[in-house]
Subunit: 549 residues, 2 copies
Amino acid sequence: MLEQVDLDHKTAKEDYKAEHDALMARLIVLQVKAMQAGIGTVVMFDGWKGAGKGSRISDLAYNLDARYMNVHTLSDFDVHAHREFCEKHPGVTGFYPFMQEFWGALGERGRMTIYEQGWYAAARRLMAKGDDPQARARETVESIGDFERILADNGYVVVKFFVHISQKEQERRLRKLADNPDTSWRLKGGGIPGKDEYAARYEEFDKTLSLTDADHAHWVLVNGEDKRTANLTIARTLVTELERALSRKEDPAAAAAARKAAENSAGALAQATDPRTRSAEESALVLEAARAQAAEQATFAPRHSRFKMVDRPVRLADVDNTLSLARADYSKALKEEQKRLGELELKMYRARVPLMIVYEGDDAAGKGGNIKRVAQAIDARGYTVFPSAAPTKPELMHPFLWRYWTRLPKAGHVGIYDRSWYGRILVERVEGFASPEEVFHAYDEINEFERELVEWGAILLKFWVAVDPDEQLRRFEEREANPAKQWKITPEDWRNRDKHPQYAAAVDDMFRLTSTPAAPWRILESTDKLHARVKALRTINKALEDRLG
Amino acid sequence: MLEQVDLDHKTAKEDYKAEHDALMARLIVLQVKAMQAGIGTVVMFDGWKGAGKGSRISDLAYNLDARYMNVHTLSDFDVHAHREFCEKHPGVTGFYPFMQEFWGALGERGRMTIYEQGWYAAARRLMAKGDDPQARARETVESIGDFERILADNGYVVVKFFVHISQKEQERRLRKLADNPDTSWRLKGGGIPGKDEYAARYEEFDKTLSLTDADHAHWVLVNGEDKRTANLTIARTLVTELERALSRKEDPAAAAAARKAAENSAGALAQATDPRTRSAEESALVLEAARAQAAEQATFAPRHSRFKMVDRPVRLADVDNTLSLARADYSKALKEEQKRLGELELKMYRARVPLMIVYEGDDAAGKGGNIKRVAQAIDARGYTVFPSAAPTKPELMHPFLWRYWTRLPKAGHVGIYDRSWYGRILVERVEGFASPEEVFHAYDEINEFERELVEWGAILLKFWVAVDPDEQLRRFEEREANPAKQWKITPEDWRNRDKHPQYAAAVDDMFRLTSTPAAPWRILESTDKLHARVKALRTINKALEDRLG
């Protein structure tokens, strides 16, 4: 692709000013419109060392409103420390996943996030490390592709600029930097590449650009030898992309009205009557309405995932509510398994293996008590419990995964998720908080996220905590009767029971579409909580032993 | 103080279990109550190496609900890299202020945050660095005291445990760790202190404990030689402190009702009429009501700060609305000053000086345009503009400074604040979003925060952007008439004009009570925006030159 850049093209000063001023005036208006419409813009600048990426960003920022922009600069990277970490901790690629720094830096929808060097530069740095670069290249290209698509699916415009210069020009510029004591530090110890090195990198760049040029995230090649030409290319691209995105964006008022209407019709019948005092006839009507809605919502969910699943994913129909454990057996087994986990956790810490445990399940199934028995076994400095309350405004203004992108355990630590990113395809699907299209995309977004975690080196365990509906009712009533437990039960919980068919459909879809071999769903039969607790501990211990040998 | 610990005291197993179980049962209930009441708990564990701080935390976490707890472990610290940084960058103490890691780790009110080693351990580490340890000690003791008081004032219970052991016991335990290859890594290369070293540290600990034992943040000494005795001391303390805090806490429903009532009466008159169509008589009534409220609110503000102020702080009465700059002079000066700033910023980056620029001011005074001219001059990778939108829920559940504690520029970078932490004593004071008591405390909390920033090495510039009221009205009307600018003006802006007397009183109090010599308020007379822009740039450039020589 790079041969398409006409490096000899120069823009005359008199031609430049008028066009550039007009483009910038337009771009300022588009920036405000994008902010109002909640369209995020992600702009990445990649290119040769010395090509002027930073100057191009500064020229852009000069004209735009800095209050609606973030600039992220690629973090410093200690190659030596990274190599040492990887050698000492085989199977773990770093303290955090490769993409984490870019995930965290992503601005809200409505804002412009500029990455000065981004995931491609980071990937090149990693691949230079040398351990099976081919496999690593495949993985990172996949991670990158996933991220860019998630951005596009979540209302971001993604533009990638590659700033190109010739070998001669690069040598001239870097030489100039090196010769001036005030600027020589900018080379950061790296030398000036010769012809052969430039040629090798040229080929590499060219290949990557072709491989990663996507409809939703085009590469735009920029002539870095003439800054006027470069600025015009950049401005023209941004104007075009933002105008296209704004015209695509449906009228937000109409969309909100449609969603509101859907919400009302779905909930109206169930809301009209109190589940606790309802007649048999009313109950039948509520159930029928719920089933109809479940059938309708089933069309939201994709039939297949592009990921390979385990051969026989679990199903709700398989839940065995009779499983139980006698109190005496429980006490003994709990003690044993907690001790074992404590020992394994120490080994896990030293091997810097990240462990992530996801709890989803029915209301009142006993998630909290189960989590408690796991946490008890671990050094309190070694784990974090991440609860999933209703999303905050900044969370709503980001891709739904963002709140988890930024809530990962550090390598060697345990993250326990009391509900999780699966909220998107459970409560948000059933309650209509997410649009059908968003739900549709979410299954594979989740699979991608989890692949990323597993590649990082994480052990990922996903528990569905299940309870028999009669036992759940008993627990609800007990909570209502007990003043110390009343805060645990809300009208919401009762209403969720009404929506059992919709939830069941969503759960079975989740099992079917997100049970990858590396992270299958597992059921904790928690009609008897004692059984479920010991099963959780045994499952965790087995997974740790399998990994740690 | 340490001599008060009876290290020979042992608790028998049979005495322990019953009391400990009862305390824990009580503590679990208190944890839920504190969560519901929005009382945060900060628990710090300090003490000798090998005293079992981590085990005590694990025992506590074993019993409590892990979903409402965070555990923060003191970060690793590369003494060598830190020393190198400080030598290379005199006047700057690190990439972030000393307390930043503890600020960031603070959990929401309602949660329990446990610090395993905290600010005291961090301070000891820093003081070991050697450059004027006396001065450094005074500073850090002050920083620590401020933080603990801010926590107490913001609805946190603060408990500090010091886990004590004798020299003999320490030697025995560390020797055991060192001899076992599975645990020797825990010593992290540090040796086993001998008698003299222990004695020296004993004296140091003892002195720090006495100096920093405060009513709102007591030290509780724990016998680390007997874990049962230790656990009982810890549990008893937490039960007592949480019960005391809960009994002090006023009925939240009553408090909310009172605040609501105050809000309504204050705003009712102004809300009832539209400022744009109001008669002269109505306007006079609104103004009178506003003046009365300003007088009443004046009682919120403290008369004096415990900090020393500059001799003659600015006052609103001094604002000279006639200052202006001809367009031709402006263009020339702007170009010159922007160039100068660009050059200084590069120097500043190399010296790793953090620069923080605060913009507060009247609506439509021209903050945005002023910020733009400053940002334009700086490499886009070197600055961040931090806007201050309405606080999010997590922000409301933390001390008001938290959103700025976690939004600092890294050393060498520029942070530009488009409105700032001063919102607390401006809009939150006038609108009653903060209680009189909270406003009262805020002045010195802000002075403390800024002292911390200055000690870190930051240049802190605070601009009040002022506009003549008639000119402001003209700009409002212009914004309303211009479709491209309508989004910039809201009914809120009109209502704020009604509250001019209250705002003026708040602004003058702010000038008077937060103009410290290191960070005085400066006025940018922005009735003529051109004048204000050049003045901002000149002020910034002068401050940078003064620092960089």
